[in-house]
């Protein structure tokens, strides 16, 4: 039968040893590395761990490229801003599924292209209005030269918007975002050979569309 410690003490028997109880659970040391110093993967890990400010930094690092890819698809600032927000929200929801096989930027491009293609298929892309041209022209030292460039840009954008979906996505990622064929293949979930073939046909179709417009 077990005897309580109190009973031993009451009988005047005290041990010659002392028992010290020490907590064995240690809280994990807090990572004090500033978020700015973390690479994208570490930021993703911090965000999955509950740090929303880590996601703010992801947004800051990638907002420009995400916005620009969206703008290339829809051709309107307001729509591009809405779609970019949608891209980041989807990224946030799926952050746990980001395995890090590809870079975070490629993963975001992939989400961006999917979001844009889905939206664009529902609603035809709005063509850039020539009203935008004077604003762009004002950015160049020679306004007349700027206007010519702006008009050329508008025509190109309209022609790109008429390309088939995969060709358009491939051309946008290759020409305007300088992604490698491998990165585009990852972003579009296809092969490098298919990316090169799509790029070839996209350029050929673009040239034809621009030529037919100028006639």
């Amino acid at each position: 039968m077990a005897t309580g410690a109190g009973e031993w003490l009451a009988r005047g028997i005290s041990p010659e040893w002392t028992l010290r109880v020490v907590a064995t659970t240690k809280s994990a040391p807090r990572d004090t590395t500033p978020l700015d110093a973390l690479d994208d993967r570490a930021l993703v890990a911090a965000c999955v761990g509950g740090r929303l400010d880590a996601f703010d930094l992801i947004v800051d690092r990638h907002k420009r490229s995400v916005y620009q890819v969206c703008y290339r698809f829809v051709g309107r600032h307001e729509d591009a801003a809405d779609l970019s927000q949608e891209v980041f929200l989807r990224a946030y929801r799926g952050l746990k599924r980001f395995r890090g096989d590809a870079s975070l930027s490629t993963w975001l491009y992939r989400i961006g292209v999917n979001v844009c293609l889905n939206k664009v298929s529902v609603r035809q892309p709005q063509q850039t209005s020539l009203d935008d041209a004077p604003q762009l022209a004002a950015l160049t030292p020679d306004p007349s030269l700027g206007l010519i460039r702006a008009e050329a840009a508008t025509r190109v954008r309209a022609a790109v918007a008429r390309l088939p979906r995969k060709q358009r996505a491939t051309l946008i990622l290759r020409v305007y975002h300088d992604l490698s064929h491998q990165e585009i293949a990852t972003a579009l979930n296809t092969s490098v050979g298919a990316v090169k073939a799509n790029f070839f046909h996209a350029l050929g179709n673009l040239k034809k569309l621009l030529a037919s417009e100028s006639r």
Binding site: D56, Y67, L136, A153
Partner: protein, 200 residues
Amino acid sequence: MHHLSPEQLVDLVEGQADPAAVRHASACDACRGAADDLRDAMALAGADGAPEPSPLFWDHFSTRVGAAVRAEAEVRARRVSRAWRWMPVSALAAAALVAALVVVPRDASRLPDRPAGAVVAGDAAALVDEDALATPDDASWMLMSDLSQELSADDAGTAVPGTADRALRQLNHAERAALADLLREEMARPSARIADPAGE
């Protein structure tokens, strides 16, 4: 050698072609012309510079996305918290139902007070007349029925969908009342209280 494929032409224009393709292009007017066309098209495409919104837009955008993400995180946290609040009730109800499944003996003749029309577990699926057994005025039945609707297959462990319903139908009045008392007792505990969704 055949003419260059689209992939090889793209490699050629981007300076990535293998030496054989480069040699072919230098000797083949058609392939050289195709490569020149590609270069022209790339130059045309490049005429559309990067869209650059107002500098003020970027701060506004970060704030907007940050707010949307935080709203999303809050909704997610609320969902998780609600699930945890239900956990004790769900777990207990699941345990009770699974226990009922195990405890109900296969031999119906051993059960006292079995209501007419009740059947033995195992034979239930084929024989149960649901309308006859569902007695709307039986409060115990209603309580257990409501609770079992909140259960998912995960809550019920290894029980397959529909098992809980079948198990309930096997209980006689005394057994149902005992199970209902058990559930009421558990639900009365503060940890099992469910917040008013409108008050969230």
